[in-house]
């Protein structure tokens, strides 16, 4: 599988995401925000960072980057898209996912090893996990508080669209401890924690995140 990783001005986890894609057995394709070209990739990752310095709102300016036209169009037709951290913020700003991400309720940037439960393993990005599998991956954000109106939360919970939930500690005040969600079709996933930093034992953060980068291949093989 060819998985594109888009670099925006101020992105900082693109190289880690590319590496995670390769460790996961896929081909990583570097994509540029200013192009109108997805280079025929089978899936797209919007990596973490501080695109456009988080000016206006996190992800609000990147959401209108040239390449996002193709990403949004593709996502609506079923292209698998994974947004991590700043990428998740871009996905809510694009309205590909519902709700919004606000400043952490405690107002401080937080960086910790975060325990999560993968509650939906039927998305394009989580099929390698067992249902309700518990994993630990790094989390680092300043504006990671997931919010949505009561009806949206009810729908997300009712339709099993909460992909990952914080366990033990809610690090940012997210409603219902929500760490990640998916769209109705299950091809678009937004996640605040960083699985791409937990794919090799060498870096000491475990390999619990690897499933996000092997799921696509498994899904295709299972067809």
């Amino acid at each position: 599988m060819k998985i594109g990783v888009i670099t925006f001005p101020g992105t900082l986890d693109d190289v880690d995401a590319q590496r995670a894609v390769r460790v996961g057995g896929n081909e990583a394709v570097a994509l540029w925000h200013g192009d109108h070209d997805l280079q025929g990739v089978d899936a797209v990752i919007l990596p973490g960072g501080f695109s456009y310095g988080d000016y206006l709102r996190c992800g609000a300016i990147s959401r209108f980057a040239p390449i996002m036209t193709e990403v949004i169009e593709g996502a609506q037709k079923g292209l698998p898209v994974l947004g991590i951290c700043n990428g998740f913020q871009m996905l809510v700003e694009s309205h590909l996912l519902p709700g919004g991400l606000l400043r952490n309720d405690h107002l401080k940037f937080i960086c910790r090893d975060q325990k999560l439960r993968i509650e939906n393993n039927s998305t394009a990005w989580t099929s390698a996990f067992a249902k309700d599998q518990e994993i630990v991956v790094p989390l680092k954000n300043g504006e990671g508080q997931y919010v949505a109106d009561a009806d949206t939360i009810k729908r997300l919970e009712g339709e099993g669209r909460v992909v990952a939930r914080y366990l033990d500690v809610n690090p940012n005040g997210s409603v219902n401890d929500i760490a990640g969600i998916t769209n109705e079709a299950g091809n678009v996933v937004g996640l605040m924690p960083h699985p791409e930093h937990a794919v090799e034992t060498l870096t000491g953060s475990g390999i619990d995140g690897l499933g996000f980068f092997t799921s696509l291949a498994e899904k295709v093989l299972a067809r």
Partner: protein, 75 residues
Amino acid sequence: MPKPEILDPQGKAVLGALPRLGFTGVTEVRQGKRFELEIPEITDDALAQIEKLAETFLANTVIENFVVRVEEPAK
């Protein structure tokens, strides 16, 4: 402005600082943004366009409300 039902952590932090500074009697603080856009001429078309750009770009209407106001620049 953040919508009324959205918790505003920054406003809460400002509110928390007020008593420490000796300002009492304030029960709620909410923090928003103000953008000043200059246009050569105020027309219905221009205002409609500004309304649209506020809705699609300057504000995220999932979490924020906005108001467009016309002001003449100080001479």
